[in-house]
Each structure stands twice: as C-alpha cells, then as structure tokens.
C-alpha cells in the first residue's frame, strides 16, 4: 500500500510539470511581463523605468522559457519558468504581484472555504440519502415518477438562480441571516446557514436522483432477491442489504472531491462575500495576478491527484478482491 502511494506521488511530478507549463504558456500568450507591471503600477505616471524596476523586483526580467544569453545549464534555469516553478515544488508560493505573501493568504482563506464546503458536502450527502431512501420506498408508484420529475426540474435550474433566489428571499426579504460576509469572531454559524442551505438545495436534484438509481440498482441484485426469498421484510432488505451496499459506490464516488473541498466554491463565495479560496482565485483571475493563479492551479492539481489516490484506496477498502500493486 505504502509503496503504491509513493509511486503514485512520483507519477504526479510529470503531471504537475505539465500543469505548470500549460499555465505559463496560456498566461504569457495573453500577458507580457510589461502588461503585468502596468496593471500593478496603476494608471498614472507609469514610466518605462518604473516598469523595468517592477520586473526586476518581481523576477520577471528573465526570458520566459529559454535563456540564450546564459551559459551551460543557465540556458534553462535562468528563466522565468524555471525559477518560478521550482519554488512551487518546494511549496514556496512567494508573493503575489501586489506584494502579499501567498502562503499566509492561502492558509487563512482555506478555513472559511472549508467551513462552508464541508457542511455543505456532509449535509448534502445525508439529505440526499434520506430523500432517496424515501423515494425508493415508493418505487414504481406514481409518487416515485413525479418525484423523479421534480429532481430533474431541480437540476435544470441554473446554480446562479439558487444563489440569487436564496439571497433575495432568505437574507433580503425575510432578514433571517446576514446577506453576505463571514468572520470568525462571534457567531460564525449564522454566515454558514445561507451558503450551506443553497448548496444543499441546489444539489438535491442531481444527488438524490443519483442515489435513487444506485439504490434501485442494488435492489435488482441477486442477493436482494435471495434475501426476499428467505422472507426478509422490505425494511430489512432496504436497510440491512441495500443501504450498506449502495454506500460503497457513493463513498468511492465522492472521495475524489474531498480534497478539493479546501478550494471552496467559486460562485457561492463570491456572491456571499466569503473570504475563501474560491473567491481568492476569482479575484486573481480578474486582477490578472499571475503569482496567485499559478499557486492556486498548483494546489488545485495536487488536491485533485490526492483525490484520485484516495479513490483508488477507497476501492480496495470497499472491494477486498482489488489489490493495489
């Protein structure tokens, strides 16, 4: 197991290099270091000398990928790409283009993201399973068909409408919770109600529908039929046979997103003013702050890869016949 994980982590290195290369290429086709300097230096009295000084200070005065002027290995190492990427692999994210330390920003902004995403995730799964179980009990009745239709209708509504609607009704009209914001002092939970509510409600459509399918699929398995034949009641079948078995695909399916919970939700965070990593990334895109974008892509990729590894591990846990080697 350990050997497997270590090997997978080594496999991650070329992927991370590829990710970095792609980020660099995409970013620098659009922006030149001059552009970055100009957007950081403001709108008035921007002199070429100031631009040069900025580039030097922030390490953008080197060639991008290939330094023909350097000698020996400097051809590759004395470049923006090499100097900036290498530090990422050492988890040194450096400072954003506006001068703030990225590591400290990421570590403070991670918690609000997690505070919203984790409850949404857990409550979401739990509500979906509850709803799906209720529906499965009425399988093949009219109620079941209508509920499925409602699920599909719920998932046909754009996420934007859930947020806009939730904010408008719950916060603005009914004044039940603050309309936006987040802070640790005082009552944190009151800022979490709205985003978690919106996240859970928006996810019911697709989530409950998927779980329903899973439960039904299990219900058609031979062992279920055997259990029924042996005289087990519907309930016993449902809770003792179907639910535990259906939980396996549910768990292995959701494991991949657990690490990405740290990244938070882009939309919900920016609509509701939650200072998490999702809105951090969105702001960085808008401000074209390359240092932040680069670091966030790197973190995102690592979390994704960790998610994949966790998924594999969870498969072996769920199905002992599988071996990781």
């Amino acid at each position: 197991m350990l050997a497997y994980i270590i090997r997978r982590l080594f496999y991650a290195i070329p992927i991370l290099i590829g990710v970095n290369l792609l980020t660099f290429t995409l970013f620098f086709v659009v922006n030149s270091p001059e552009d970055m300097a100009v957007s950081q230096l403001g709108q008035k009295y921007v002199t070429p000398a100031a631009i040069q000084a900025w580039k030097q200070k922030n390490g953008y005065d080197l060639p991008l990928f290939f330094n023909a002027a350097a000698a020996g290995s400097g051809v590759v190492t004395d470049t923006i790409f090499f100097s900036k990427s290498l530090r990422l692999f050492a988890f040194d994210f450096g400072r954003s283009e506006s001068g703030r330390d990225i590591t400290s920003d990421v570590s403070t902004r991670m918690w609000p993201s997690l505070a919203v995403a984790l409850p949404t995730f857990l409550i979401g799964i739990w509500v979906n399973i509850c709803v799906a179980l209720l529906v499965v009990m009425f399988h093949a009745t009219r109620l079941d068909r209508w509920t499925v239709l409602v699920f599909v209708a719920l998932m046909s509504i754009s996420y934007l409408f859930y947020i806009i609607g939730g904010q408008f009704l719950v916060a603005k009209t009914w004044k039940l919770v603050p309309i936006s914001g987040f802070h640790i002092e005082g009552q944190v939970w009151k800022f979490l109600i709205l985003p978690v509510l919106v996240g859970v409600v928006a996810g019911i459509g697709s989530g409950a529908r998927w779980y329903r399918t899973l439960f039904l699929e299990e219900a058609n398995q031979d062992y279920v039929r055997t259990a029924r034949a042996k005289g087990a009641s519907e309930l016993r079948v449902l809770f003792r046979h179907i639910l535990p078995n259906a939980l396996i695909p549910i768990l292995t399916g959701v494991v991949v997103i657990i690490p990405s919970l740290f990244m938070g939700g882009l939309l919900i965070e920016s609509f509701l003013g939650i200072p998490g990593l999702g809105s951090y990334m969105l702001d960085a895109i808008n401000a074209q702050d390359f240092a932040i974008v680069r670091s966030m892509v790197f973190i995102g990729s690592i979390l994704y890869i960790v998610g994949l590894i966790l998924t594999d591990i969870s498969y072996t846990w769920a199905d002992p016949r599988l071996r990781l080697d």
């Binding site: 070329p14 992927i15 590829g18 990710v19 792609l22 980020t23 995409l26 970013f27 086709v29 659009v30 239709l149 599909v152 209708a153 998932m155 046909s156 509504i157 754009s158 996420y159 934007l160 409408f161 806009i164 408008f168 603005k172 697709s206 989530g207 529908r209 998927w210 399918t213 399916g253 990244m263 882009l266 939309l267 990334m281 969105l282 895109i285 808008n286 974008v293 966030m296 892509v297 995102g300 990729s301 994704y304 890869i305 994949l308």
Partner: protein
C-alpha cells in the same frame, strides 16, 4: 441583401447535416432502431424531443444571417451597393421587428407607462414629472382602461390564428403518420401549444412588451428568444468540437496501449487536474487578445463576437474532453479483448479496418449519450461563465449575459423581476427538456456501462 455566413452558422448547419446522415445510417442497424423506438414510444420522449426541436429550429432560423442593403446614394459614381453594418437574421424578420421597438428604459410587462419618472412639459410649457407613456406599447388604445379587454381580444384572435396554423401543421402530420404506433399525439399537442404561443407572442408584441423592457429599453422577450441560439449552439458545438479529439485519442489509447496509452492518459490527467474555470478564463482571454489584435479579419462586430463564441465552444469542449476520452479508452480496451477482434487480428486484418469496422460502431452509444448528457450542462455553464466575465461577448444575446446584467435588479423597489424571469424561463424549459430526454436516451442505450456516473 447580402447573406453573411458566420463560422458558428456554418458549424451548426454542418452538425445538423452530419446528424441527419448519421441517423439515416443508423436506421439500417435494427438494434439501434429498437433503442430509438423505445425512446419515442413514451409520451415524455415525444414531448421533450419536440421541445428540443423547437429550440433547435429557432436556433437554426437565427443562424441565417444577412446584411440589409443601404439605399443607393444619388450621384454615387459606380452604383456600388453598400450594406448595413448591423446583421439581421431570418428570425428577426419573422418576429416582426420585435427587437426594433426600443423604449427609454425599464418598463413592466404589458405596461403602458415607463417604469421611471421623467421630466416632461405639458402643453402650456410647464414642467412636471411623471411616468411617460411608452413609445411602442398601447399607443393604439383610446383609453388606458381598455388595456385588459384589448389584451384579451387580441390574445383570443391570435390564439384562433394559432390554432388554425396548428391544425394545418398537425393535420398534415396526421395524414402522413396515421399508421404509426408511436404516441405522436403527444408531440402534436406540444406543437400546437408552441405554435399558438408563437403566433400570440409575435402578434401581441406589436402592441405591448410582453416581458417588459430592460435598462436600455430593449424588449426582454426578444432578448430571451435571441438567447436560444447561443444556448443551443454552445450545447452542441462544444461537444462536436471535442468529439474528434476525444474519440481519436481514446480509441488509440485503448487499442494500441503501451506508450500511446501512457501519453494519452498523461494528457487527460494533466488537463483535468487544472481547475476548469481557470483554463477557460485563460483561454478566453487569450482568444480575446487575438481578436483584438486582428480587427481586419472581421468585417462586422458580430463576427468578432462569433469568433469568441467559437473559441468558448472549443475551450469548453477541451475541458470536458477528458471524461469522454477516459470512457472511450476503457470501452476500447474491453472491446479489443473480445474474441472477434482477436480473431480479426489473427486473420491479419489491418488496424484501420478493425478500428473502423469493429471498434468504432460499438462506441456509438457512448458518444451519443455523452452528446445528449453534456448538452444541458453546457447550457448551464454558459450562464456561470458570463457571470465571471469570460462568457459570451456582451454584444451577442445570451441568457448568461441577461442574468449577469439583471442581478442587481432584484434589489430595486419595486422589484424589476422580468429580465431574470425571461432568462430563467427560456433556459429552464430547454434544460429540463434536454435532461428528461437524455434520461430516456440513456435508459434505452445504456448497456450498463459506467456512464451513469458521469451524469451526476
């Protein structure tokens, strides 16, 4: 009049053509025909398919663009004809100038007066302040109180015409399809409803703004309808563009294995590990820069917007490419282990032949299901991207841009609800129909592969 073929127009007609040919070919396969029969033997299948066809039809009509000729100038030496800079589509003409009736600013649905007060002067030249009458709504009324009855009579008349038109269309189909065992009547009912609605909308919008007007005074109903093309095209073109790449790479990886497999796997793992939104934002900005730097390539502004639209389709395709590629690779791996493929190898049949004859046909259902399943997701994604500012060009009508622009209107007092509602309604109906239809398609085709997972 000079026809103008945008790239997206070209692509969508190409796609429609390809789909038609594809289905014609598939008809020869009895198994696949059975699958389709299963889809259409339900009323739900008929209704949703009709709704989707209506949207596609609107999109296709809106994809026939032309530029109006300007009146020749007296004394112009060469008698050369010049064309208007604004691009019109056949749909615009069919809607009877619905998009050309501008007001000053907001007005509520069926309102006679503007939503905002304005300084005016009465006949004696004294200044006063009131809600001004709308330019293009209710001008024919003698008394404002007549509005209710006027709307009713006009609607009744329009519905009558609509029913007549529906009777003709449905009657024709009934004559042709009367021996069919499929539940056509469900489709006919839908058609009748749609036709009645269409006739009613076009005729009544000459007298009122059915969904009101927005900040700049443009008709909201018209904008919502213009959003149809963007939604439908994005939903289909993005998949179309990524399809060749995903299929080629996926099949190659699954069939040749070895280093090819490694490379392809590396590619899609790398791509899918980058947060999608970021990839999209960067690529759209990149294309925007390209467009800005080459203004000469585009004769009219719409072509620029269109280029960005194509770019967006492309990049959405690329980001959703990896999941399809993974599925195809897995399926190819499985198929190539089957006896008849092994046998073909043993007989020395060439790789190309094996791929074309034995493997590709067995992947069709995956491709089809992906196409249908991704559609609604892409339509929804457009709205989100426009919110972030990397979506459709603002000059091109889209629901995402409408939502984005109308976001703050809910905080007004009284609430301006109609722009959001217009976008919501048109988007919801399309996505709902697509989702329901894709469920049916999946139920019919899914041979218990792992595809269900990608649906959620």
């Amino acid at each position: 009049m000079k026809p103008l073929l945008l790239w997206s127009d070209m692509l969508i007609y190409l796609l429609v053509l390809a789909l038609c040919l594809f289905f014609l070919r598939l008809r020869s396969d009895p198994q696949i025909r059975d699958h389709w029969r299963q889809v259409f033997s339900t009323r739900l299948g008929m209704v949703t398919f009709t709704v989707i066809l209506v949207y596609v039809g609107i999109a296709l009509l809106d994809s026939l663009h032309f530029r109006k000729a300007l009146d020749p100038v007296a004394g112009s030496p060469r008698g050369e004809i010049f064309y208007d800079n604004t691009v019109t589509s056949v749909l615009d003409v069919m809607l009877g100038g619905m998009g050309e009736r501008f007001e000053r600013t907001y007005s509520a649905p069926f309102a006679l007066k503007s939503f905002e007060k304005q300084d005016m002067k009465d006949d004696n030249g004294a200044a006063f302040r009131d809600f001004p009458l709308l330019e293009h709504a209710g001008r024919h009324l003698a008394q404002p109180e007549d509005r209710g009855s006027d709307i009713l009579t006009k609607s009744a008349r329009a519905l009558l015409w609509g029913l007549l038109a529906a009777a003709v269309v449905v009657g024709l189909q009934w004559y042709l399809l009367r021996s069919s065992s499929l539940p056509w009547y469900a489709s006919w009912m839908t058609q009748a409803v749609v036709i009645c609605l269409g006739v009613w909308l076009v005729s009544i919008s000459r007298y009122y703004h059915v969904l009101g007007t927005d900040l700049g005074g443009a008709d909201v109903a018209f904008q919502s309808i213009k959003g149809v093309r963007t939604g439908v095209l994005l939903g289909t073109l993005a998949t179309l563009i990524m399809l060749p790449i995903a299929v080629t790479l996926g099949v190659m990886a699954g069939y040749f294995k070895g280093w090819v497999d490694d490379v392809v796997q590396y590619l899609y793992t790398t791509l899918s590990s980058i947060p999608g939104i970021l990839l999209i934002a960067a690529s759209v900005l990149l294309f925007q820069v390209y467009i800005d730097l080459h203004p000469d390539f585009f004769a009219v502004g719409l072509q620029k917007a269109d280029a960005r639209f194509i770019a967006l389709c492309f990049i959405l395709g690329v980001t959703s490419w990896s999941s399809l590629c993974r599925l195809i690779r897995a399926e190819t791996l499985k198929i190539s282990q089957l006896g008849y493929v092994q046998a073909a190898h043993a007989f020395g049949v060439s790789h190309t032949r094996i791929l074309l004859r034995h493997i590709l046909p067995n992947l069709v259902h995956i491709i089809l299901i992906t196409l249908v399943l991704d559609f609604s997701g892409l339509v929804l994604a457009e709205a989100v991207l426009s919110y972030i500012g990397v979506g459709i060009d603002p000059t091109m009508g889209s629901w995402g841009n409408m939502i984005n622009g109308a976001r703050s209107e809910l905080s007004r007092e009284p609430v301006v609800w109609w722009t959001l509602s217009g976008a919501f309604f048109f988007m919801f109906v399309l996505v709902l129909a697509a989702n329901l239809f894709s469920d049916l398609v999946r139920d019919a085709f899914d041979p218990r592969t792992g595809i269900r997972r990608s649906a959620t």
